[in-house]
């Protein structure tokens, strides 16, 4: 996020010197319309990533009898998380947590207490900051959906999301961005490598193992019902991610610009890395391959987008594209668990690759924005952030899922799974005459 660079400070001093405007002289707490304009847009872009972006990416990948169940999960999460965010989410993520502040915020801003059109957060209205951060809170549980798609009960999905959001998303978000330990340690996570991707990826892994494989997996042919939807979704994720990464600067400045540029570079590199690797190994490049590669690149550049330069982006793109390729198409097949849409394979693995490489690519010799400590120390700090996130999310997910399974059951019946979730759970069909 935005910081006071020496250049900025100099400018401020000069301005303070010659402009007798009290507001500026005091603490710069002035709304900047340019920053606000960009953050309004960035917020729309990140919401767009979930609905319709992610919903389509996931919806296209399942069988047509289940497409609505996936769309429903993404859309309902958008609704539920928004309301929870207002009630306690924003407060627990971003307010002071008192004695627990290292891990989670408090409830002083519950129900957005005290927020008015005049409240500022840096140079933008606090309302914009709240909505922007909300869109991150929405997409994270929606990402997990990919892991247990085509077999989870809708009610169980809602309960799980509510619990996981409360006990894993909010704390990790607070640790990284709300004043918690990641900040203290100096973990670099510009736009959510730990908070969003590793967090969600691990939850997905735990969930798909606990809930078990889909009926017929991997024997039956489980093919995407609409590759065009999948590609539209991937494209929307790509475009929307500009809001995600460049928006995380909370300002329309050079860092935001660079975040957009490196996002584009890493994504493109990861996409064509996957494409060429598949071409070499299988003889043909595929649409699903290149799209998945792009998402892997987007995931991996996320934590690094505020600190890496163009060359670092090439590296992160190539590393994430090829490691995720290898993991998803080979390792996963061997391990044998059924992560339906590779929530872990792409977001978990891609997130870890990105979080670690962020430490390296921030170094000035990699064209990054520079580090105050040695690369080795930074890498260790990044590693600590990754491990804490993995453990935290893993434990919360495990406990929440076990509890729900006991109370209401996680899975639909086999009959329902065979005939499709859309009709059984929602009395609707995806396509008709």
């Amino acid at each position: 996020m935005k910081s006071l660079t020496p250049g900025r400070i100099q400018l401020l001093l000069l301005m303070a010197f010659c402009l007798p405007i009290p507001l500026l002289a005091q603490d710069e707490a002035v709304l900047n319309t340019g920053d606000t304009a960009w953050m309004l847009t960035a917020t729309a872009l990140v919401l767009f990533m979930t609905i319709p972006g992610l919903a389509l990416f996931y919806g296209g990948l399942v069988r047509s009898k289940n497409i609505l169940s996936v769309l429903m999960q993404c859309f309902a999460l958008t609704g539920i998380i928004t309301v929870l965010w207002v009630i306690f989410g924003y407060s627990m993520a971003f307010s002071d947590g008192g004695g627990l502040n290292k891990f989670v915020g408090g409830l002083s801003q519950a129900f957005l207490n005290g927020v008015t059109p005049d409240s500022l957060s840096g140079t933008i209205p606090e309302s914009v900051f709240i909505t922007f951060q909300l869109t991150f809170a929405i997409i994270t549980p929606a990402l997990i959906v990919g892991a247990f798609a085509e077999r989870m009960k809708f009610s169980a999905m809602l309960w799980f999301s509510v619990l996981w959001f409360t006990f894993s998303y909010l704390p990790v978000c607070h640790m990284a961005w709300g004043g918690g330990i990641f900040g203290d340690w100096g973990v670099l996570d510009f736009a959510g490598g730990t908070v969003v991707h590793i967090n969600a990826g691990i939850a997905g892994l735990v969930a798909c193992i606990l809930i078990g494989k889909r009926v017929g997996y991997p024997r039956d042919q489980i093919k995407p019902n609409s590759m065009p939807f999948c590609l539209i979704g991937a494209s929307m994720l790509w475009v929307g991610w500009f809001g995600f990464n460049a928006g995380s600067q909370l300002a329309a400045d050079g860092v935001a610009g660079m975040a957009m540029l490196v996002t584009q570079i890493a994504t493109a590199t990861a996409a064509i890395s996957w494409m060429f690797l598949e071409w070499i190994r299988h003889g043909k490049p595929s649409v699903l391959g290149i799209a998945t590669g792009a998402v892997a690149g987007l995931v991996a550049i996320t934590p690094a987008s505020g600190t890496a330069g163009p060359c670092g982006a090439l590296l992160i793109g190539f590393a994430s594209g090829s490691i995720c390729y290898y993991f998803v198409t080979t390792v996963k097949q061997k391990l044998g668990y059924d992560d339906s849409l590779d929530a872990f394979g792409v977001h978990g693995i891609g997130g870890i690759v990105g979080a670690i490489l962020t430490g390296l690519c921030a170094a000035s010799f990699m064209g990054g924005s520079g580090l105050d400590i040695s690369v080795g120390s930074q890498l260790f700090i990044q590693f600590k952030g990754v491990v804490v996130t993995i453990l935290w999310s893993g434990v919360v997910s495990f406990v929440a899922l076990k509890a729900i399974d006991l109370l209401i059951g996680l899975r639909v019946s086999e009959d329902v799974e065979v005939s499709g979730l859309d009709l059984a759970l929602h009395d609707e069909q995806g396509y008709s005459q």
Partner: protein
């Protein structure tokens, strides 16, 4: 020769096809159909408009078989398509007067 028309549950297609290959059936034709029968359909609701859908998705297999194979094929379908639930489907047997393979012009059981 006989022309068998079998209506089966969609998710049984793969196992039926494999079982038939094993008993020597070398060709068949598949179509997606909707069936009406004892098996209940389902309800759909769109903004309060409730529709009772009586038709359920089924797969239709058409298989030309030489007369001596008929019993074996019927038995194989029966076994591999069975789930013991209402809606498992039927096999209809019609007499087949002749067959012709377009590529070669062969006719009769040669052409199957």
């Amino acid at each position: 020769m006989k022309y068998l028309i079998a209506i089966i549950q969609p998710h049984k297609l793969d196992s039926v096809r494999e079982a038939l290959s094993e008993v020597g059936v070398q060709g068949l034709t598949v179509s997606e159909v909707r069936g009406f029968g004892r098996q209940k359909g389902h309800t759909e609701i769109y903004r309060g408009s409730e529709y009772q859908i009586d038709f359920v998705p089924k797969i239709k297999l058409e298989i030309a078989v030489a007369s001596e194979m008929v019993d074996k094929v019927v038995k194989t379908i029966c076994e591999s398509a069975r789930t013991d639930k209402v809606g498992d489907g039927k096999i209809f047997i019609v007499n087949l007067e002749d067959v012709l393979r377009i590529r070669t012009g062969e006719t009769g059981s040669e052409a199957i």
